[in-house]
Amino acid sequence: MSLDIRPTLSALLRNRTGAVLVAAQVAIALAVLANATYIIVQRLETIHRPTGIDENNILVVESAGFTPRFNQTASVQEDLAYLRAAPGVIAATATNSIPLSNGGNNDSLVTRPGTARHGYINDIEVDEQGLDTLGVRLIAGRNFRHQEIQPALTRNDAAHFVPVIIVSRALGEYLFPQQNPLGKQVWDAFDHPATIIGVVDPVMGAFPASDHPERVFFLPRMPDEFIVVRYLVRTQPGERDTVARLIESHLASSNPDRVLNFVRPLSYFKNLSYLGDSSMELYLVTVTALVIAVTSLGVFALATFNVSTRTKQIGTRRAVGARRRDVVQYFMVENGLITSAGVLAGCGLALAAGYWLSVRYALPRLELYYLVGGVVLLWAIGQLAAWQPARRAASVQPSVATRSV
């Protein structure tokens, strides 16, 4: 079967403007489509990186003492005892920072005392229930014991370290490349030593936006008294919100010397951390959908127009022996030629835009799969949009040729 490309092409070249306009639309659409999809996929990957944390069943409680009568140590003990006994609670810990919230503490760790330090490492204070509360998995070593939990740092005694820590696998690999970190010693900013007694994996710390959110270590210590006290509470699946209401009503009035700032699901903080990424994703998905819609309308409108202005010619072709199939094929081939020219130009445009984005905004270079996908999609859209007008062209009666107007 011949596609009769040559006559179709020469007819096209005689009446270029409309075709050029549609091809230009296809080109822009391809550039937008390929790059936008690529960015969307990257953002989705970022948002859905494994955190190792039971995100959906954890509550964050924040309390702030504000009178001289407030005794933080006693308050924490009382609160933890209440939280751990509350129905629906699996485990609870006091902590200094909220995981995945992009806010928290950093320390520097080195593997030899007195050596130069660079970069910070996220640290999270927990007690013996900390790992269970987060739901992170210990892949080597052991958990903290109750008697290992150190008292809180205070305003008059702020330079203590802890005897033992638990590190993430990623941090272990960073500090001790190709070695087993278990049992090794590390030194903090004041050259106080600590021994690594456990390794967890996977886990994400408090700073999802940092370059290495997976480098994190846990300190067995009560939260310091410079900031408010936070509790993490892990509940039975599905009971998070019930537990939240229960503990909120209790803690709000259990101690008049402090205020309960909030009881919120951990997912609230995660969503806030990824607000930029999820807004970008929503925007890109919307615009991409609009681009596809507008482009298909453009192709459809031109094809319709071409059919309606050529009714007489179609009739003539039918009268001299063309079958309906030939007419349909003619319009489909014409559309294919236009779309092909468009995607060809669009490939150049998409690569140029991708290159510019990678240089100017430090986004990764466009992967070619996305370009190929975009080409196939636009081709399919073009053919689909041309199908209905082509069918209508085929229904033109040969007798039209003999009538004037």
């Binding site: 306009l21 822009i28 937008v32 702020a158 607000l275 615009v287 409108a301």
Partner: protein
Amino acid sequence: MFGYYLRLALRSFARNRGITVLMVLAIALGIAVCVMTLTVYHAMSGNPIWWKNDRLYAVTMDNWDPNHPLNPKTDLPPPEMTYKDTQFLLRSTIPLRKVVMYSTEGVISDAGAVRPMEVATRVTTADFFAMFEVPFLYGNGWSASADQPAQPLIVLSRAENERLFGGANSVGRTLRWNDHEFRVIGVLDDWFPRPRYYDLNGGAFVLPDAAYIPYGWGSELQLFNKEENDCWRPEKLDTFKDYEASDCVWQQMWVELPDAASRERFQSLMDGYWVEQRKAGRFPRPKNNRLTNVSQWLRDNQVVANDNRVLVGLAFAFLALCLLNTVGLLLAKFLNGAAVTGIRRALGASRRQIFAQLLIEVAIVSLLGALLGLALAALGLIAVHHLYAAAHLGERGGYQELMHFDAVGVVWAVILAFVATLAAGFYPAWRIGRLSPAVYLKSQ
């Protein structure tokens, strides 16, 4: 003549209803996306105190690690200063106004019948309100003498006054802040600088603090900065006094220098201090003492995320797509009506008249498209607003504030819409006007 062309245009719309609707829709969508993106971008990239751009300066000095700059890529000094350096510079009489401040948190209790609540509180020197031109609803700020020794005075934001006192004039009322008695001296009017340029720690689009207290309370009550405390070297920080004597940065400093001469004098004061301190073993890095105006400050701190620039580019690509679409549809429509145009030409209409008539048709389409586009953009912004609100992101209310239209932005958007579409319609109108009438009369 205009009225006649208008009638012709309306008739032509009635004849080609589908295609007219498509054109208006295409333009409207392009405009809507552009206006939404530009509104957000404009709000993010604005300088909320542009009229003071040659007077307000952020003060920064590089006291960081000799081996590792804080910002390896830009070599900018830390955005905040140490306590001891701000204390020295605060004594200078060169600046017209000077502000040292940071944000902390405190529990407000015993105010009316409201239950105690912890609120963001700014510890600041007295010039804050005059320097950043903060509007007052009731009362005023404190005088510089109330900073040191610290007097128990507090300024509330309008929203906080609403919460505590139901919006009444609360000047003179007392409340407890972290269990110390304070007297309300002023209540701010609505004030949402976007971005919150004067302190970018904790986010550029967060709301201003709920309360403000004199600077001296920082040392008195041992108040830490709740957003950013950064130390480059291990120091023994056993007490708050140790912290104040340390090389940790946590205080934000701004000065108002009315002219170039005072600016130079202040710069040489900083540089002289730097030399002196260096002799004592501080400031191990190369000299990097900066006075940064607001617009440069916003650029240095990358307030406008790259994402937003990408989105603006994308929005214009989409607008281009929509306009191309419209040109195609207009061309199709005009060619379809070419026979009528041919008759009119044959009956004596000049090319210019045909052109004018078609352009009026285009203008109507573009106007409709632009109006619909603006309406869609408004709906879109409202939807975004609700989306943020629904996600319980009230704390970051600053993002919601971004979603408001600003009048100038709308005017620009209308002009953009109108000009873009007229330009798009120019070619089809011109092309049809140039057709030889004979061709179309013949085929009749």
